[in-house]
Symmetry: C2
Subunit: 264 residues, 2 copies
């Protein structure tokens, strides 16, 4: 018996990050990515290369309140010590919110039951300067009740080819479980309050295709502008043609909020 040996455990991280300074999640040959920065820090802590598996890729500029990733490593101290070690090496635009020990079969991507995203969109005037990397913006106010009508057609199990980046491989069938749109008239920041109007979109699905949320938002905005009728969404879905849907909205309003798992 070699009691000093530390066997490998599977650790899961809940990660908050500001996407403004990253080329997204996935490691690339050049450029700063969240996965790349995390793996550098794990190598400093564990003195060896450790692969971090994320729940999914995220585009440049997209933010996360609850990105999930997992990795196998030896660690014979407490979970809170691991969290402290990670946060002390990580730059200020990535924070580990939680570290959990999970079963060996847990995989942040394949074990996920659902993902929830929000999208923030400022309508019209009085846009706070402090939000330019955190909220998208359009110049006019939208018709919210038309957008809500249109959103209903997206709910359920569909082939979302029309709402995904062209050229993506694999099945395009996804189940959109929840979709909400709220309008708020007041925005609070620590330094003050702004009157104005902004929309908060919330989407929950088993999983999302590449750019799916940003294209759904772009299409719902066309509905809110009365450029297309709410019922048109059904036809866009059945066309399975990306060119039928609206534009891909910018990444800075998009946040991954939560990923659900059976284990926690």
């Amino acid at each position: 018996m070699r009691s000093k040996d530390v066997s490998l455990s599977n650790f899961c991280l809940i990660i908050e990050y500001d996407g403004s300074g990253f080329l997204g999640w996935q490691k690339q040959k050049e450029g700063r990515t969240v996965q790349g920065v995390l793996e550098e820090v794990l190598e400093r802590i564990f003195k060896k290369k450790i692969e971090v598996k994320g729940q999914g890729r995220m585009d440049a500029g997209v933010h996360a309140l609850g990105q999930v990733a997992n990795f196998f490593a030896p660690w014979n101290h407490s979970l809170s010590q691991l969290k402290t070690a990670l946060n002390s090496f990580l730059p200020e635009d990535i924070r580990i919110r939680e570290v959990k020990r999970v079963s060996p079969s847990f995989h942040s991507r394949f074990s996920a039951l659902s993902r929830t995203y929000i999208y923030l969109l400022w309508e019209g005037e009085n846009f706070p300067v402090f939000l330019r990397n955190y909220v998208s913006r359009i110049s006019q106010k939208l018709n919210l009740s038309l957008m809500k009508k249109g959103a209903v057609y997206l709910l359920g199990r569909h082939d979302f080819t029309s709402f995904s980046k062209k050229g993506e491989k694999g099945s395009k069938v996804r189940t959109l479980k929840e979709i909400d749109i709220f309008r708020r008239k007041k925005i609070s920041l620590p330094c003050g309050e702004w009157r104005g109007s902004f929309l908060l979109f919330r989407f929950k699905a088993d999983s999302f295709l590449h750019q799916m949320v940003r294209i759904m938002v772009g299409t719902l905005v066309e509905v809110g502008r009365r450029k297309i009728a709410p019922e048109r969404i059904r036809e866009i879905l059945s066309s399975r043609d990306r060119t039928q849907a609206g534009p891909t909205f910018p990444p800075q309003g998009l946040y991954l909020v939560e990923v659900e798992y059976e284990e926690f």
Copy 2:
């Protein structure tokens, strides 16, 4: 009578800006400043050089909700058209909140009756990644009631030499009219809420010396850490010696909130 002539008016701007991307207010030979960017935009609109006078210099990284500046120019359209013209040329990190026509004798600096600043300071854990340019941070929680006791000694008319950047010229006598410190346990951002603890300091004075707010905060934090007694503030003031006060706290928690004038 030359009815088409447009005589010069004195215009006053209320300006919101994100200090993160500026070397401060004042024009410099090199580097991006708020005054520099504003004067470039005015030159584009009026086709001639126009000097903008600010209510005071502001350091790099300091933010403004209500910076005030004025300039003389010919303009025969409405004030709201001038505001729209300015905002359409200005970058997204500067927004004109209001344009007023003021009397010829109005000077944004010399006519000001008071200035109000706030300073935001996060205490301890759970710092949201989205606030790293907008809120300062310390690692431990402070004793708020000691800080409030210490703050009282700063109120009133004093020589604030100990609380100003060394080498500054002119009178160091200022009147600190109001000082408040609040603690909040919840921070709201458009994308979510964070539990934690942060302090909001609010200072109102006839005017402030260079770095005066940041040195007052640094000194009050020493009191909150129990490194110095609240009563010590009185001695620091009377010493007229910068080295007696606490450190100059970082600029990113500091916001110019409001400047008061008799005219409006």
